[in-house]
Symmetry: C2
Subunit: 209 residues, 2 copies
DNA sequence: CGAAAAACTCGACAGCGCGTCGAGTCCGTC
DNA sequence: GACGGACTCGACGCGCTGTCGAGTTTTTCG
């Protein structure tokens, strides 16, 4: 399901030919994704880039989406990089949120095509859908917990159920980054908006109208 | 480009056979969309539902996506139904926003699969992309104007550029409705969150530290 | 070393869905 | 009744996908 065969490496030995080919396919996918959207990439191109025939491709991956999943797995770790301080903290800690979002923006900057393609393919491709769901749930759960903490401490106003609000924030990030030319330019505004979503009080404008 | 032939209706006459077939295709599309996502619907099915052969289908529409566009066009009007009072008003007029969102939710309720499918196909299908862009721009423009008005009147706090903030609100709506089981249940929370995005003030917690 | 096993390669094939083409048939008009 | 536009369809070619079985290379081990 993940890697084709179990390699019984009896002794120190460099990566087998197959290992290199597998990497070549992955690299080709990365290169192509830098130039065009996932939907326009064909297995032929992936195979050609790795200098094997199209049928040989199937020795390494079950489908084009399997390649995507492999790439996605490599990203799973990066995706919550630097999110910890924000998610585990309390109150409107603007700098922490900014760092968290900046890290996320950097990933979208370099892997936008991959993420956008994966998100588009998610409904209709269970494994990708599950990957996305897992990631989302992880984020939403931690953020929801943070919201509850802040509310209990009187730091955040009441409002939508924590997991709903957290889901909206996750959705907003994804939509905003997916549609942006330069994700990094969004960070500042996203910080402001998220803080408002979480802490923004509708103090009736003290202009008495 | 839009409708297949120009019908020279010389005199009062019921809809031609072709008109009925065209409607049959559209209806079939609607029925199928109620049962499965757009990507899983094939031209064969559309043709079969209208009781014509697959090649006859092409007499009426250029492609599956052309059918989608036709359906979408029928929706264009509904999509800003009841949005006027909110978009043309000023200040945190919660009831108006709620009505606007409720109307939108009702549309997502019945046409979710169509809208979700169209959104997924938008990048990679220029006509659909343009349709989405036009709709988005229309909403963003009006909402941005509203934001400027409110800010000028001191009713809303400063923040992201109006069109950016408006874009985020549009994105959030779309993402939230697209992912919801029952869009109508989201309305209340969406109202709260949007108002916070627009009017939520971060009164710095003068809590000591 | 040499044979068995595994890792790997490929051409050929079958399938599906798309869109086109040209040869039709139907039907209202003059 | 013949002309033309509306309409229909089968057959075809294309591009992409995934499978199969027969080959070649590489590794393992007696």
């Amino acid at each position: 399901m993940s890697s084709p065969p179990a390699v019984p490496r009896g002794r120190r030995r460099g990566p087998s030919k197959g290992d290199r080919r597998e990497q070549a396919i992955l690299n080709t996918a990365r290169e192509l994704l830098a130039r065009k959207p996932l939907a326009e990439i064909t297995i032929d191109e992936l195979a050609a880039g790795a200098e094997i025939s199209r049928s040989s491709f199937y020795f390494y991956f079950d489908s084009k989406l399997a390649v995507v999943i492999a790439l996605l797995h490599g990203l799973a770790g990066e995706l919550d990089a630097d999110a910890g301080p924000w998610l585990d903290g309390t109150g409107p800690d603007e700098p922490a949120l900014r760092r968290s979002l900046a890290a996320l923006a950097a990933i979208w900057q370099t892997h936008g095509r991959l993420l956008a393609g994966a998100l588009a393919a998610a409904p209709g491709c269970p494994p990708i859908g599950e990957w996305r769901a897992r990631l989302r749930t992880a984020h939403v759960t931690r953020l929801a917990a943070r919201i509850e903490r802040d509310r209990a401490a009187g730091l955040a106003p009441d409002g939508p159920a924590p997991h709903v609000l957290a889901g909206m924030i996750d959705d907003l990030r994804t939509a905003a980054f997916a549609g942006a030319d330069d994700p990094r330019r969004l960070v500042g505004d996203l910080v402001t908006v998220e803080l408002r979503m979480l802490y923004g009080d509708l103090r009736v404008p003290h202009s008495e109208g």
